[in-house]
């Protein structure tokens, strides 16, 4: 029942990309955002709202159309959904959908599709500042960056991070590794190990499942008494870097991409009848990207520097570019 009549409650469907529901990254986070709203609204899981996992990209359209016409809002995360969303919207022009990380769909044509994008470069700038400050404090001059694959979105992370690091110290060395894989912890771990061996003090990963290897390497090194840090991505990855008795973590901070907020907002808007298509940009200024408030590992002075950068971006004194090439 696509249209809400007054007695029925609002219903939601969530479709994961191939990362699966427990990717400890944006699928999981988006789902949690949606779930949070639904719980607040007193909806019943698996009845009013549920998720479907995509095994391969070929599952995207069938999974979306499976929900289409049945749920008031369908949420999907990941730029690879672009074509599938368009296909579904062509067939179900009335169906409200939220797609995260896509902004290239024709807004005039797909009026019921909300495209949520994030200023990852701004958030990455912040963690860049954090990384550089930490390194400076420890008397180190090298930080690292690990990427899962080169793509437009991924490049925004890299651009923002560089600008952040160089804003603190233009002479800082940034190590860069592309592991070409989003699901190989070993490669992520090896890349992190390589960078730490080469002197990196803090590593920022944007490598999905492979990044878990980087976090595991940092935790293992801290466990062994080495002084190194790692920065998580998408969601607060603090707990994945646990070491020692489990209360400490090697995760310095995380670049939050509030996909949960996007999902939450869209779900709420649909229930309240205020949902609109078009592009919604989540920036640092509106809390769409940022770092967690709680950062037990971050010393106050570093925190201050990050806050400073935060304010500067917010009031426009600093603009972070989506692309960046160091001259």
């Amino acid at each position: 029942s696509g249209t809400t009549d007054d007695t029925a409650s609002v219903t939601y469907g969530f479709v994961t990309d191939t990362g699966g529901i427990n990717d400890r990254s944006f699928n999981q986070t988006s789902w949690e955002g949606l779930k949070r709203y639904c719980e607040e609204a007193g909806l019943v899981e698996n009845q009013d709202y549920s998720y479907v996992i995509s095994e391969k990209e070929s599952d995207y359209v069938p999974n979306l159309t499976g929900f289409a016409g049945q749920r008031d809002l369908i949420v999907a995360a990941g730029y690879l959904f672009e074509g599938a969303i368009a296909e579904t919207a062509d067939q179900y022009p009335e169906q409200k959908m939220l797609i995260i990380d896509v902004e290239s769909l024709d807004v005039d044509k797909y009026t019921n599709v909300q495209q949520a994008v994030f200023n990852e470069h701004e958030g990455s700038y912040l963690v860049g500042v954090a990384a550089a400050k930490m390194a400076e404090k420890a008397g180190k001059d090298t930080v690292g960056f690990i990427i899962g694959m080169e793509s437009e979105t991924m490049n925004k992370f890299w651009a923002g991070y560089q600008q952040g690091v160089y804003s603190v110290n233009p002479n800082m060395t940034i190590l860069y590794d592309n592991v070409n894989d989003f699901s190989s912890q070993e490669k992520g771990k090896a890349a992190a190990s390589k960078q730490y061996d080469a002197g990196a003090y803090v590593i920022y990963h944007a490598a999905g499942g492979s990044g878990m290897g980087a976090i595991s390497e940092a935790a293992a090194r801290r466990e062994a008494g080495e002084d190194v840090w790692v920065i998580g991505v998408d969601t607060d990855q603090y707990e994945y870097g646990k070491y020692g008795d489990g209360t400490q973590s090697a995760v310095l901070t995380s670049m939050l991409k509030r996909v949960d907020t996007a999902a939450y907002n869209a779900a709420k808007a649909v229930a309240e009848g205020t949902f609109e298509g078009g592009i919604v940009r989540y920036s640092l200024a509106d809390g769409g990207v940022g770092i967690p408030d709680e950062n037990p590992n971050m010393p106050d002075d570093v925190r201050e520097a990050v806050d400073e950068a935060y304010n500067a971006i917010k009031d426009g004194t600093v603009t972070v570019s989506e692309t960046y090439v160091k001259e």
Binding site: E55, K56, V61, T65, G66, Q91
Partner: protein
């Protein structure tokens, strides 16, 4: 021991597989009726739990859509298997086939109908080249094709990713795929108004099945391939070009996978992809071929079966059944195919009882007459 047709064994396996799935669902405390409903809905679009729900073609078409690529990869694995080769290199062959098709679809201008055909040919050729490497190494250097196939999978993964990035026009919005293929190259949807990507690529699968059957069973070439598969030395003795057969068989096998890749790109995606991991269509092909007994009709049927298990995944999840259930059912089916010896024994026992009953009935009648 009686002869039981492959079909009968497969049917028993499938039946037990589904029974097992029901069992798992019950054990997990979910409603088995939902499983049944999901399967029926995936086949027909009719939801037995909500009879009022409008029935559309989407589900059926999605089922067929899923069956197309795995039928093609099943043909691929089956073709090699009949020649005594294990083609576990489907993943790589699909990737290169898809990429070749995308390249032709992006870079070449051709009229409609001709264009997709040329793309398909390019995909088949690329797949054939990828299959040729293990084929030739097996034939002329006696290197185990399984290792080479596994290596070629990974090489294909990275080679296509590099090639696409370096040589094809990349979509600037994502930087993670090519721009859309030329309009003329796309394999259109069969039913424009149904939200399923079921496309004209299904014809490729049907032609593939006919070609497979014809080559294997009807031609002299197929005869010599089968001879090579059963007894390489014997075939050599009879003057067959065993090495050539092995290499050719692997190439044809690769071509089937290449076609699968091309159909996916031309029919489903409409753009060239940059993948960082496999889609497992090639591995699915192994199951399809094995359950289908590596013959054309069997592969068609098991392609439909596994297509159903894939397409049911979405309905299962929506009906609150973990999608892993379909994997477990698949595992059971393949396992029963593996141990068909036992299945046959059990069937024999079953039949034996019936036969004995018949005999005793007959003798009784005979006694009456006396």
């Amino acid at each position: 021991m009686k002869k039981h047709s492959q079909l009968k064994i497969s049917l028993v396996a499938v039946g037990v597989g589904f029974l097992f799935a029901f069992l798992v669902v019950i054990v997990a405390g979910r409603n088995p009726l939902n499983l049944l409903a999901a399967i029926i809905k995936s086949i027909s679009g009719f939801n037995i739990l909500r009879p009022n729900e409008p029935v559309t073609l989407v589900n059926t078409l999605n089922w067929l859509k899923y069956a197309v690529p795995i039928t093609l990869t099943g043909l691929s694995v089956g073709f090699a298997y009949r020649t005594g080769l294990f083609n576990i290199g489907g993943e790589g062959q699909i990737l290169v086939g898809g990429t070749a098709a995308a390249a032709v679809g992006l870079l070449v201008d051709l009229p409609p109908i001709i264009h997709p055909i040329v793309c398909l040919v390019a995909g088949a050729l690329a797949g054939a080249v990828w299959g040729m490497v293990p084929g030739i190494l097996k034939a002329y250097r006696k290197i185990n094709e399984v290792v080479i196939c596994i290596m070629m999978n990974y090489i294909g993964l990275y080679a296509t990713s590099w090639f696409t990035r370096a040589c094809l026009p990349i979509d600037p919005a994502t930087n993670a795929r090519t721009i859309d293929l030329k309009e003329t190259a796309v394999l259109g949807k069969v039913f424009e108004n149904v939200p399923s990507l079921f496309n004209w690529g299904f014809l490729v699968a049907i032609i593939g099945i006919v070609v497979f059957w014809f080559i294997m069973e009807k031609t002299t070439f197929g005869y010599s391939l089968r001879a090579t598969g059963f007894n390489m030395e014997g075939a050599r003795f009879a003057g067959m070009k065993v090495e050539k057969n092995v290499a050719l068989s692997m190439m044809i096998s690769g071509a089937f996978c290449g076609l699968a890749g091309a159909v996916l790109i031309l029919g489903e995606f409409g753009y060239g992809r940059i993948q960082t991991s496999f889609d497992n269509f090639g591995f699915d092909g192994i199951s399809v071929a094995l359950v289908g007994g590596s013959n054309a009709i069997g592969i068609l049927l098991s392609g439909l079966l596994f297509g159903l298990l894939k397409s049911a995944s979405s309905n299962l999840q929506m009906m609150n059944i973990p999608k892993e259930v379909s994997e477990l059912a698949q595992a059971v089916i393949i396992y029963l195919i593996a141990i068909q010896y036992v299945v046959i024994l059990l069937l024999d026992k079953f039949h034996g009882k019936k036969d004995k009953k018949l005999i005793s009935e007959n003798t009784e009648k005979g006694d009456d007459q006396l």
